[in-house]
């Protein structure tokens, strides 16, 4: 497999007169954790949706794990997964039932064993037979994470993985993701508004503004480049300056 997990070239998405993403190109190395950073409407969710094959690009190409998306969608989707607070699992089904269905959809050989294993790792054993709609937001996030990890993906896309979580749970999720990457060598892309989280977890940052990528680099290099003390200050400078990057 190529050392590049993601290769995006001149990606654009245009709805009628609205340009959601324009000429975005980037490459992400296998085994890295990368953040898509940007304000509301910057194009983070649109890019993630195109990577997932949920949205067809207007132009440009996407290569994931060495295969072209969406042409090889079926091959790629079996090796990737995603989580987002903006999608749910059926609320009337129990945690076990939901995970069981997705384990089968991803064609796992021993779906029940995988569900048990994930529930143990994510501390879901005591809620495994509870309807998903009756979980707290912290529990629901961990169940969403379990679904996103059901096929032990090589490429994991997460949209605001710690949104609406208390600091303790959010910290736990961040540690889990780092440990998952370290152990499996998976590539993780996350969209986040939480700068502290990005600084702590990510090696690379792609800065987006109004659908375009305006800068990229490690959190440290960006902080240095903009002569700021932290990533939040970098983000604010880029967000508030009319032309974006330095």
């Amino acid at each position: 497999m190529s050392s590049l997990a993601v290769k995006v070239s001149k990606l654009s998405k245009i709805y009628g007169n609205t340009t959601a993403v324009q000429d975005v190109s980037f490459e992400i190395e296998t085994g890295s954790i990368t953040a898509l950073l940007g304000g509301n409407g910057a194009g983070k969710t649109t890019i993630i949706s195109m990577l997932l094959g949920l949205l067809t690009p207007t132009s440009g190409t996407i290569h994931l794990l060495g295969e072209q998306m969406p042409e090889k969608r079926q091959t790629i989707t079996s090796k990737m997964n995603f989580g987002s607070p903006y999608v749910d699992l059926p609320k009337r089904l129990t945690v076990r039932q939901n995970l069981d269905v997705f384990a089968s959809l991803y064609g796992l050989q021993e779906p029940r064993r995988r569900v048990e294993q994930l529930c143990e790792e994510l501390h879901l054993q005591n809620i495994i037979d509870r309807p998903t709609g009756k979980l707290s937001s912290g529990q629901a996030t961990r169940v969403g994470l379990a679904k996103a990890l059901i096929n032990a993906p090589c490429l994991l896309l997460l949209d605001e993985p710690t949104a609406s979580l208390d600091p303790d749970t959010a910290d736990w999720v961040r540690e889990y993701l780092k440990a998952y990457r370290d152990l499996t060598g998976a590539t993780i892309i996350l969209a986040s508004h939480n700068m502290t989280e990005v600084e702590r977890v990510c090696e690379n940052v792609l800065m987006l503004k109004s659908g375009s990528m305006i800068d990229h680099g490690s959190p440290f290099s960006l902080i240095e480049k903009y002569s700021r003390q932290n990533l939040e200050q970098v983000f604010l400078e880029i967000a508030r300056s009319p032309d974006g990057a330095k």
Binding site: D88, P90, A103, L108, Q117, H123, N126, N151, T169
Partner: protein, 288 residues
């Protein structure tokens, strides 16, 4: 998060083994997974099961007593015992076939699960196949109790029709599923604001399907339209079976051929709408 204070213990196992190649064009395992998903939903509450059988039973009781009244006073066709009861039960097969597909599809929209499914290896035609199979199960759960209840109540057993019943049932179920796939596509295209189509869309064809009266009752130009529907041939065939005790092959073949066209059109619309949805971002914006 009291139980979660410990440092995360991460995947001790290597990646779980996949049972088959994910790029397989049709996977029975994925179809079975979706069927299981809908069965889990049905078993999640007894009210859902009761609701499936409630309406067919009420309809059958209403029309059963109407039949008893008409038996002494109406035309030859109506005097053929059970015509109205059979019509009610078979109409419900068509209605349930449609709603079984559409409501199961709607469940994914209501639960904001559409993106999860569409980002998985599940193929759209596998999902459509699962929707049709679950629709068959929902129809059986809905119509069987009513059909059985008609035996002690009116001494009418629709099962005496044997193969004829199977032929009618299959044709109506396929037609209902074809309409259900098209309605689901419309709801995906226009959002949950169009969900009432799932419930009322099928009634558009009710007046020209000749459920309770022969197609010859309709004006000539409407008869032409009526015979373009598989349901009209089924209900005409049903009346012939009950009144003349014979199986009309002509109506059966016509229904079968028309169903092949309608089912292909249903699949085409369903799959095509998903392509549009991916282009327009509809899989992410599910709302009114």
């Amino acid at each position: 998060m009291n139980e979660d204070k410990s440092i995360p213990r991460i995947p001790r196992l290597a990646a779980p083994k996949a049972e088959q190649r994910a790029d397989r064009s049709f996977s029975l395992i994925r179809v079975a997974a979706m069927i299981r998903r809908y069965l889990y939903l049905l078993q999640s509450g007894w009210i859902r099961i009761i609701e499936l059988a409630y309406w067919p039973i009420m309809q059958m009781i209403l029309w059963g007593f109407m039949t008893e009244f008409l038996l002494n006073s109406s035309s030859g066709i109506l005097r053929a015992g059970g015509v109205l009861i059979a019509a009610v039960l078979l109409w419900d097969v068509l209605f349930r076939g449609n709603i079984g597909v559409a409501v199961s599809f709607l469940e994914e929209m209501w639960s904001r699960n559409l993106a999860q499914l569409c980002a998985s290896p599940l193929r759209t035609h596998e999902w459509a196949a699962a929707l049709i199979i679950i629709s068959l199960l929902r129809t059986l759960i809905g119509v069987l109790p009513a059909a059985l209840l008609a035996i002690p109540l009116y001494q009418f057993s629709i099962f005496e029709m044997g193969f004829t019943l199977l032929a009618f049932f299959s044709n109506l179920l396929i037609f209902g599923a074809a309409v259900g796939l098209s309605v689901s596509a419309l709801v995906l295209r226009y959002g949950l604001g169009a969900e009432s189509l799932a419930w009322v869309g099928i009634f558009l064809i009710a007046p020209i399907s000749g459920i309770y009266y022969p197609i010859s009752t309709l004006p000539d130009w409407l008869q032409f339209l009526a015979y373009a529907l598989p349901s009209s041939h089924v209900f005409e065939g049903m009346r012939i079976a009950l009144a003349e005790s014979r199986f009309d092959l002509g109506h059966f073949y016509n229904a079968l051929m028309l169903n092949a066209v309608f089912l292909a059109a249903g699949f085409f619309i369903f799959l095509g709408t998903f392509r549009i949805a991916r282009r327009q971002g509809l899989l992410l914006q599910i709302g009114e």
